[in-house]
Subunit: 341 residues, 2 copies
């Protein structure tokens, strides 16, 4: 069997307490015994049992990350950076795909509470409001990523979607576009914020909003976006630019345009959001709005650790600023088109 703290104690001719103290660097231990104990630990390949120490009220050094879909590159990136940063502090992260299903959300949370994880990071979508409130009530450390709950006292990290939407639209405006379509994600706060930014930019530019140019979809696949964009482009007064509220949506729009024989970027500019790897492999390369995912992951983990380690949890909301990344899918409005539509 695996050696226990008692095996070490016996071998070293001391008590278990002393060994425990050495392991945790607590109390005063003579150099001599410390050294001796250390040697024995090495010799026997002793590994402290985290479970046992967790039972004495210590941390499990494990946190949970809940995301809608692990295979989605964006979430995968959150995961990566959260794990990377957590690792530095000895935290492991257990990943849970919820599939945006409230029942699964609840099941995961219950199970993980039973396993006594130290805290939760929830990203992007969480539908089960009662469970969320419960978590907060029980004062279980919790941080939200890109998940707005302004009415709840909970720490969070998010990109500034409103500003992002504004910047994207302004970029298109600056290229001379006036009829700008938008394909947005329904039901999420991020989604509506991006639309708000878009509207604000148009209003600031003195352009009247046209409801026909705003489309929303719940289907976030390329195909879904393609459908949406097809309608948008087939309408009488077709837009000269499209803002896809995420890269997938934007790429769907690009494909729809190609299908209809519309040339990019000469006859149509397209801009995305999130600046994923996909931007660089489509043709033309997709302009996009970058949010520093790396930073979001780190900050979220940082906030959570803070809550776990100190009881006086100072909760914070952090908003990270987006940046415009110009590539080849956006171009100055071609005059010939401007007047022909």
């Amino acid at each position: 069997m695996k050696p226990t703290i008692y095996d070490i104690a016996r071998e070293a001719g001391v008590s278990a307490t002393t060994v425990s103290k050495v392991i945790n660097n607590k109390g005063r231990i003579s150099e001599k015994t410390r050294k001796k104990i250390m040697e024995i630990i090495d010799k026997l390949h002793y590994q402290p049992n985290v479970l046992a120490s967790a039972m004495k009220g210590k941390s499990t050094y494990t946190i949970a990350l809940l995301i809608p879909d692990a295979a989605n590159p964006i979430y995968a990136q959150y995961l990566k950076y959260i794990e990377e940063y957590g690792q530095e502090f000895g935290f492991s992260v257990v990943m849970c795909s919820t599939g945006s299903d409230p029942e699964k959300e609840a099941k995961h949370i219950t199970l993980l509470k039973q396993k006594r994880v130290d805290g939760f990071i929830i990203a992007s979508v969480f539908k089960n409001e009662p469970v969320l409130r419960q978590l907060i009530e029980e004062e279980i450390p919790l941080v939200l990523i890109s998940l707005h709950r302004s009415e709840l006292p909970v720490g969070s990290v998010a990109g500034d979607d409103y500003l992002g939407g504004y910047i994207a639209t302004e970029h298109l405006l600056s290229l001379g576009h006036c009829r700008i379509g938008i394909i947005a994600q329904e039901e999420t706060v991020s989604g509506t914020e991006r639309v708000r930014g878009y509207e604000k930019a148009l209003i600031n530019a003195g352009i009247e909003l046209d409801k026909n140019l705003i489309r929303t979809t719940t289907d976030l696949t390329i195909e879904g976006a393609q459908l949406c964009a097809r309608e948008l482009l087939a309408s009488g007064q077709r837009p000269t630019a499209i803002f896809g509220c995420n890269d997938t949506l934007a790429i769907g729009a690009m494909l729809a345009a190609k299908e209809l024989g519309i040339k990019l970027p000469d006859e149509l500019s397209v801009i995305g959001f999130d600046n994923t790897v996909m931007c660089k492999i489509v043709e033309p390369q997709l302009s996009s709005i970058a949010i520093p995912i790396h930073e979001m992951g780190r900050q979220a983990m940082g906030l959570l650790i803070q809550q776990i380690e100190q009881k006086d949890n100072m909760k914070q909301r952090i908003a990270l600023l987006p940046e415009l990344v110009v590539r080849q899918s956006t171009a100055r409005l071609n005059d010939s088109i401007k007047y022909s539509t």
Copy 2:
């Protein structure tokens, strides 16, 4: 504080033992007391402490997945399906990015052993051989994904890379190509197996191998592949088709070709491997070899659970067969080119 089994016992006027039995469906309990206990459990929102039960020799119902990089779509998919399947059996999965760094690998494993995870799934790359052997020696449940160690007694799941390489090459041959270049990943067994399949297909077709057509790289980024492909295409006798040993490599080749003004697929056919989402968004859409990742994840988790639950661990090696997915990046060799080179 959270209620314990004793709180339930007191409330129900029975002993903790009885409550434990009810929770675990063990021993014989009268319907009456069972019902009563259940009610109290509900009323008090009692949640069994998995840590405590794990300390009595039970499982932690937590397994670890080690992958080189969580942000890589392929690994993210493994993760997704493993988690999805594990969930059905109450298993949580903690995800660890190793960055292919032997030290990190060791650190992770040590930490997770201390946390008493029930088993490990290791995917794609694991450099720290001693740690791997140690794991096997300690009889800790372990399954490998796409990670060949034929000399080690360990269960594994993998795509048949040799066959995949063969099929990809045969597809190009069937289109009339004879000068087929290959860009391969260095150092991995999967990589060399795919090359072997490629060579075998050529030999079977009676075509002499040309070392100049085989390039390997350790840089698995698109840019790295692009560099590699540029050399390949700039050489005197340029190939009329390229087999990229994964989609990223293939896309790098496509970009290099475009850069050099080579038309796809008329002047050059390209095929990838893995059939990732990227295939559908590049232009022309990339033909590729599909391995059923979904199935790989499930099988791996299944194998692991088997090892965890029964001590008589029947280890298995499972090879999943690849399939050709033809899209637009591969086309019949154009005769005009055939004779002009």
